[in-house]
Amino acid sequence: MSSIAILGSGVMGSALAVPLSDNGHDVRLVGTHLDPDIIDSVAASGEHRGLGLRLPESVRAYQLDDAEEAFDGVEIVLSGVNSFGVRWAGDQLARLLRPDMLVIAIAKGLDANAEGDLRILPEVLAELVPADVHSHTGWAAITGPSIAGEVASRRDTCVVFAGEDQRVTTAWLMPSGRTPTTYGRRPISSGPRCARRRRTATRSRPDSPRASWRDSVNRIPSTAYTTTRPPSSLRATSRCAGWSTYWADEPKPPTGSQGLGIAM
């Protein structure tokens, strides 16, 4: 179990609180200056209006003013703001991060300078943190193809963790002791558990198609899913997305994303 602070209680940051909490992590959700109402609501009842559901009871909600308390002693920090908030988040992390914390950035996208050179947003985020802290923290990124609503309602989906330092992506979410490169609430590969789900779903259908299907999905054990063998389509998607992604069961490629200046 790890202690995890999520900075930003928008839909994706909050959605990720669900599988993290399901996996037994100590999750602390910290709202931005735009989120006081969300945090009040989550603290009072767990209700997150943006997602339209209740977050697990174990998720603790903090207003931005209490961010230092939330960050106290955490091992992992999830930067849960979108691409427009990256610079804001960087300024916050500059005061909140402590050496040895691992940072996972959610915001996708690129930033351009006046000359037209592009950088990925996790680099922009990391750059805002003072060098003495930066050099003692780990940095990685998380990307889809999931959308927040799917993650929060525990649908079959997956996310990809990527980073230049595999120790960071490996240290993240390892309940099984294996090397995770993808993570989801439930199996998404065409492995035996997935096949079992399909059979169950088909069997249940005659009574009341929709309700039975949902019930059958809910009967699937809700353990964490980690694998070193993600589907090839997922690998392709991740590579197309331009992250410097590699998989634990493959040799490390010699270079990162071409043209983005990412050395691996």
């Binding site: 427009f84 996208g109 930033d111 351009a112 037209g116 050179d117 592009l118 889809g144 959308i147």
Partner: protein, 95 residues
């Protein structure tokens, strides 16, 4: 997955139906569109990178058009003939 229900895809569908970007975005309540923003950022670098000689003026036809659609509100008119290096200028000789 995002390709089925994401906000950017919803805008894309409306664009495909003939709306321009600002109309499509407004119809959806002007949501945060990170994909469209990424097109703005990346597409905005293309003239600079072209000028610096890092890319050719005929490269990235799709991205250049997406930039016109998102940043300049032009209607979608995919430059299919310019993809993958462009169609040959003259039809291949038939035998």
């Amino acid at each position: 997955v995002t390709s089925r229900g994401g906000r950017n895809v919803k805008v894309g569908r409306l664009l495909g139906q003939g709306l321009v970007f600002t109309e499509a975005s407004e119809l959806l309540g002007n949501p945060t569109l990170e994909g469209a923003f990424a097109i703005r950022v990346i597409g905005g670098t293309l003239p600079k990178l072209t000028e610096r000689g890092l890319i050719g003026s005929d490269e990235f036809p799709l991205l250049r058009h997406l930039y016109e659609v998102v940043a300049e509100d032009k209607p979608v008119n995919m430059p299919w003939s310019r993809f993958f290096g462009g169609e040959p200028r003259t039809a291949p000789a038939t035998r």
